[in-house]
């Protein structure tokens, strides 16, 4: 682009210079033309005046002078000069043109005429053409005295040229076409003066201006420019000769506009061409004054078509154009190549730089060349690389920060939302216990907006003593720099509540305590509940204590009762026995029987009392649990029972070792087994003790082949004092099974019976392993049922 513009510049400069040179050329050509015109005109002038001069000289010729004077004298003698002239003239003109009268002939044959003819011939021969058309001399009255040929009329005095000649001494008429002579000529009038300078006559010569034309033609020929046209025109602007319109010369006038312009003696101008021709350079020169004579008043103009004269310039222009185009092309080419090597890369660089400026830091320039441009590209790439890194880092940091910010904002929002919505009351007071902020929930309590709470103190919201307490708490906490959790009174809307408050000291970054932060929530309900619970517990405890006490009392009572009952019982028994012993002779058989019955009943009561006592004792005197190898226990129990010989008691499988109270469990087994023994109705009694593990329970079984039990009694038998057989038949208290049941159930187990009438019964009871499990792993291995 730059190169193109440079080329353009060059072009423009060239054009300007061309124009200038054109102008200069123009000027020079113009000047030259002017000179040419001037010169040519001078020639013309010279040519014409030379002729004129000759005749001027001839006018001074004695012959001419003589004849003229003669004529003048003749005429002066006349009376009516004018009349004579007129008459003669009339005669002259009435004769046909071709006719030459004697009169005329005489005029044409006198000496001057001959001389004139001779001169004419001389010139004709010299120059090859009839330089003069005719020449004649008039006297001072204007009538011909000598002539080379017939003139148009006799008197010339009335003609303007004669008068002009007379006046000015020389008169050059306008160029006219002489049909008769077929020449372009101009009449030249020369005054004849005598030696004294008196006007005596006029010579008129019709100058064939062919020489002038020749000159003009020569000038044209001589011109190097083809389009050169010379124009000669008179002072009126009438065309005398136009090389351009040779045949039409002497016709036409110069364009008025131009004519007006050519006022200087010489000069040139540019004018539009006539009849469609291009612009023309119009150089002109006015004829100069020739010696004493008035200038001819002719103007010679040389026209060149500027096209032509400036052809060289035009050519130059063309060359210039071509050069310029070439230059432009070259410039373009160079430019292209430069652009390829420099400006493209530079462009790339610029683009890249722009890109980088925009933020696209990934822009990289392909380094094609190894030169400075390449280096530049390299450095640029490096720079971009660094920039990108930096930007990436920055971006990462910004992202990080944004993320942190976002997280912070989110968390802030969360906290704000939390703070806003949390039902707990939250506040923050400064070191003077003035509220700095609080959350919605607290503000609501105070029937304010959080912003309204700011700046207030507890004294604004609570009665003095409560506010004092709060303030004291705050102070204490801030001084001790220790958080405290406390339960305290709180007043909301006039009502008293209990709240749980946690106050913490707030520290600034230097560790100075600047305020206290508090959270509290209503625990009135909870407190109430707690209180009720406490009360309940107390009640419960006291109830328990009551219960325990009453239980104890009961137990003691049972104990005492039992003993107190037993004493008289024993007395009865003993006394009855003594009666028998001491007064046996007084009793008959029936009497003795009755006393025996008395004793047996006494025994029964005793047993009953014992049973009741045991029953009431169970659960109280449970004894401490100890590890019991049930196999051993059972041996003891069986031993105590002393089964009769026909009853065999076997332990079917190994019993586990459990932790339990010895007496209660022993009691259970004892009751079951002794029942089995007591009720045995078969001659060969078999009682089997077994154990199994079921669903986390030890299941023990005592089975016999006794009488069996009817299903409808399965439940009944466990009731206290229930026996299935009349008491007289079997000494049973009816308490054994219920006692066993009580014990088993106390351990968390179950007791039941499975039986078939006549076949036998099996009493099962379970003990939950949890309760009785031997925790010591060592012993678990023993449990192999």
């Amino acid at each position: 682009m730059a190169f193109v513009s440079v080329a353009l510049l060059i072009g423009v400069a060239g054009y300007i210079s061309l124009n200038t040179s054109q102008k200069a050329l123009q000027e020079s050509i113009g000047e030259n033309s002017v000179s040419l015109a001037t010169g040519t005109l001078n020639n013309i002038d010279g040519a014409i005046y030379n002729r004129i001069e000759e005749f001027q000289i001839y006018s001074e010729d004695s012959e001419v002078q003589e004849v003229t004077k003669e004529s003048n004298d003749e005429f002066e003698k006349l009376d009516d000069i004018q009349g004579y002239i007129a008459q003669k003239d009339k005669e002259w003109t009435s004769v046909p043109k071709e006719t030459v009268t004697a009169f005329m002939q005489k005029l044409a044959s006198n000496e001057p005429a001959k001389e004139l003819k001779r001169r004419l011939k001389f010139y004709e021969e010299k120059y090859g053409y009839r330089v003069f058309g005719e020449v004649f001399v008039t006297n001072k009255y204007g009538v011909n005295v000598a002539q080379t040929g017939k003139t148009t009329d006799y008197s010339q005095a009335d003609e303007q040229w004669w008068q002009m000649t007379k006046k000015s001494g020389l008169y050059v008429a306008d160029v006219e076409y002489d049909k008769s002579a077929n020449v372009y000529s101009t009449d030249i009038g020369i005054r004849i003066d005598d030696e004294n300078g008196n006007f005596i006559g006029v010579i008129k010569a019709v100058l064939n201006i062919e020489s002038v034309i020749d000159i003009i033609k020569k000038a044209k020929k001589a011109s190097i420019y083809e389009t050169t046209e010379l124009k000669l025109f008179d002072k009126k602007g009438r065309m005398i000769f136009d090389t351009a319109k040779e045949l039409e010369a002497f016709k036409g006038t110069l364009d008025k506009g131009i004519f007006e312009k050519i006022t200087k003696s010489s000069g040139y101008l540019l004018k539009a061409g006539e009849s469609g021709e291009g612009e023309e350079l119009f150089a002109y020169a006015h004829s100069k004054r020739y010696r004493d004579y008035e200038p001819l008043g002719w103007v010679l103009a040389i026209e060149y078509e500027t096209k032509e004269i400036f052809a060289s310039v035009a050519e130059l222009k063309n060359i210039m154009l071509i050069v310029f185009l070439t230059l432009t092309i070259v410039a373009i080419l160079i430019g292209l190549s430069v652009s390829r090597t420099i400006s493209k890369p530079v462009q790339k660089l610029r683009n890249a730089a722009l890109g980088v400026g925009k933020g696209e830091l990934d822009t990289k320039i392909e380094v094609e060349s190894k030169d400075e441009v390449g280096e530049l590209a390299n450095s640029f790439n490096k720079m971009t690389g660094h920039l990108k890194e930096t930007v990436d880092n920055l971006n990462r940091e910004i992202d990080e920060r944004r993320r942190t910010e976002k997280a912070l904002r989110e968390s802030e929002n969360k906290y704000r939302t939390l703070l806003k919505n949390i039902p707990q009351k939250i506040f923050y007071k400064d070191s003077n216990s003035v509220y700095v902020l609080c959350n919605e929930s607290y503000a609501k309590d105070l029937k304010l907006k959080p912003v309204q709470v700011k700046g207030k103190t507890d004294y604004d919201f609570y009665p003095k003593d409560l506010a004092d307490k709060y303030a004291a708490d705050d102070k204490r906490i801030m001084q001790a720099d220790k958080s405290e959790m406390m339960e305290e009174k709180y007043i909301k809307k006039g009502q008293e509540y209990i709240v749980q408050t946690c106050k913490s000291p707030v520290k600034d970054e230097h560790g100075n305590v600047i305020g206290v932060f508090g959270v509290f929530w209503d625990i009135t309900d909870r407190k109430k509940a707690e209180q009720s619970l406490e009360k309940l517990n107390k009640d419960l405890e006291s109830t328990i204590q009551e219960l325990s006490r009453s239980n104890r009392e009961l137990h003691e009572f049972a104990y005492i009762a039992a003993h107190d009952l037993k004493a008289p019982l024993r007395a009865i028994g003993t006394l009855a026995d003594w009666l028998l012993t001491d007064y046996s002779d007084k009793f008959d058989q029936q009497g003795k029987e009755r006393v025996n019955l008395l004793v047996s009943r006494v025994k029964r009561i005793d047993k009953l009392i014992d049973s009741i006592l045991w029953y009431s004792e169970v659960g109280h005197n449970m004894q401490e649990n100890e590890e019991m190898d049930l196999n051993e226990l059972l041996s003891e129990v069986i031993y105590k029972i002393e089964p009769p010989e026909n009853i065999e008691i076997t332990i079917e499988n190994e019993l586990p070792t459990i932790i339990c109270g010895k007496r209660p469990i022993a009691q259970v087994f004892q009751n079951l087994i002794s029942n089995a023994v007591r009720y045995m109705d078969k001659p060969e009694g078999q009682i089997k003790v077994s154990c199994s593990e079921e669903n986390g329970f030890w299941k023990f079984g005592v089975s016999d082949n006794g009488p069996g039990i009817e299903e409808k009694y399965f439940e009944k038998i466990f009731k206290i004092f229930q026996t299935l057989l009349p008491r007289d038949e079997v000494e049973a208290t009816g308490i054994g099974l219920s006692l066993a049941k009580k014990i088993v159930e106390l351990y968390g187990g179950r007791i039941w019976v499975e039986s078939k009438l006549e076949r036998g019964s099996t009493f099962y009871f379970t003990l939950p392993k949890e309760e009785v499990e031997v925790k010591n792993g060592r012993h678990k291995a023993n449990i192999a049922c």
Partner: protein, 137 residues
């Protein structure tokens, strides 16, 4: 037992006391029997220097006023009395009573059977034992 030393019976129940007396008579035990109706009386007797110190005390636990245990305690607190052998004779099968009694250094613990005959057997064993055994004084 030394024939002359009395047996101190601390028993509140009339019939029970009769039983002991009769049993001793049936067993032809010649030691005189001193019967205190309650612990207080018994202690008074024991503390009275004019009285003969018993060779053995048969003690019932279940008594009004000073019950058996209290008596035992008082007895064992008394330096001059504490060595006297005491055989508890009671209806209570309570293990805790047994333990407590032996804690208080009783020499034996007999549960009174309801059956008189069995009672006599028990007394006989006690008598036999204490005939054999040496006394601390």
């Amino acid at each position: 037992m030394v024939d002359t030393k009395p047996i101190l019976l601390v028993e509140d129940d009339h019939v029970d006391a009769m039983m002991v007396k009769r049993a001793l008579r049936d067993l032809k035990v010649t030691n005189p029997l001193v019967h205190s109706k309650n612990g207080k009386e018994a202690l008074e007797y024991l503390r009275d220097e004019n009285n003969k110190q018993p060779c053995v005390i048969l003690l019932d636990l279940n008594m009004p006023e000073t019950n058996g245990v209290e008596f035992l305690r008082a007895l064992k607190a008394d330096e001059s009395l504490k060595l006297t052998p005491v055989v508890v004779l009671t209806v209570s099968t309570e293990e805790r009573d047994v333990i407590e009694s032996f804690n208080l250094s009783v020499a034996g613990y007999i549960i009174k059977p309801v059956d008189y005959k069995k009672f006599v057997e028990a007394i006989r064993t006690v008598a036999l034992y204490w005939t054999l055994s040496e006394l601390p004084y």
